[in-house]
Symmetry: C2
Subunit: 237 residues, 2 copies
């Protein structure tokens, strides 16, 4: 099956969690909105979609045959068994999805470090609130959320959340580490000592042949200041 | 099967979305943390759980036989077919879960109207940011998110998101309307004109016999200022 991924063409954003899974599996997919001369217009038809009976609320969404599936964690829950990126049992699939939903919560909080008041306002118009949010994020939330994943890895005996076999959750946790290093290089340098298993997971994912090839390719959009992870020096104390 | 629900005993919070489904289905369940002399300690054993191989990150979570499932949207995805609160086909189940994940996003934003900087700080210490957040929430986010659900209901020809048969998503949307009326009575009074189908859905759910009985019972915890929906008059312009 050829999958069609719909997401904003200029950012990694929430679409990247899906891309990493498609890439690691060597899946046949089209990144629709990034095709020249086609792109975003095709995506927006679905969203506003007068025609569609069940329009997604927002990108990313995946077209798989007749199905249109939105919400990155749900897309991964759907793709997981098809791409062999999750064990087969119901208990394992539920556990992976539960972890991925906690990744989703973490991603929202990371986004809010630079946009705590509203995604509809410029960063510059919420800079003071962003500084406060970021301080609390690193004081309370990052230790709690990343510490949770660290303990999951410890219990699973790593390097991955299911032990020796990689899953889509691991690819997402890799992306979290990459993104936090980009956005908060100083803070992460100090913080990584507290989450050695997450760092090991990151390294293990980065060394996987398909991941290494993808990260070098021009399919990997560089981090920038329009996505979830943004490098604002003043937030990186 | 007797289900065990674990959630904070003194708030509706995110556990309420699960309770509504269990109640509407007339399911056999125990609200573990609300049992006298037992309560929260039993819940916290799971969270910290040195013993548990796969501890949930946070309440609510559901114990169903040997499974322990966290994240309210995932609990509902699991319970949906078992409680007959979602149609059977894969496409319908995915659509319901997708909608519920968008409800989850909305719930987080509603929570952040009073706690935009950090859930670890008092409301009083983030009041100015809360006012700004709330203003933007009602200017941009509520119209967009609630407008989305309104359009879903329009396409489905209501009163429910699947048409004439109720689903767990409808119970959650009912709770959103109830909660927003509690937290923002003035703003909601004006806003409801824009989402007449959501109001009709609310009324249809409230009239269902099991829902009506539940809402009158002492199993329904009253809204208060520790939950997601909080009535701060200064935020309700």
């Amino acid at each position: 099956m050829r999958y069609e991924l719909y997401y904003w063409p200029e950012i990694q954003g929430r679409g990247e969690f899906v891309r990493l899974a498609l890439e690691e599996a060597g899946a046949d997919y089209v990144d629709v909105a990034r095709r020249r001369g086609y792109g975003v217009a095709a995506m927006m038809k679905f969203i506003g979609g007068e025609g569609a009976a069940r329009p997604p609320y927002a990108p990313p969404f995946l077209k798989a045959g007749k199905l249109v599936i939105a919400q990155s964690a749900l897309i991964l829950h759907y793709l997981g068994p098809r791409l062999r990126l999750v064990p087969r049992s119901e208990a394992d699939r539920l556990w992976a999805h539960q972890l991925q939903l906690t990744v989703t919560d973490l991603v929202k909080e990371i986004h809010d470090t630079h946009h705590p008041i509203s995604s509809g306002l410029y960063y510059e118009d919420q800079r003071a609130a962003a500084k406060r949010y970021t301080k609390e994020f690193w004081r309370v939330r990052a230790p709690k959320l990343l510490g949770y994943f660290e303990s999951v890895l410890e219990k699973a005996r790593g390097p991955y959340v299911f032990g020796r076999k990689v899953s889509y959750v691991d690819l997402s946790l890799f992306q979290i580490v990459q993104g936090l290093r980009y956005a908060f290089p100083k803070r992460m340098k100090r913080f990584e000592k507290k989450v050695p298993r997450l760092v090991k997971l990151h390294d293990a994912v980065a060394e996987r042949p398909r991941m290494a090839a993808y990260l070098q390719s021009d399919r990997r959009i560089p981090f920038n200041e329009w996505g979830i992870f943004r490098a604002y020096r003043e937030l990186d104390a």
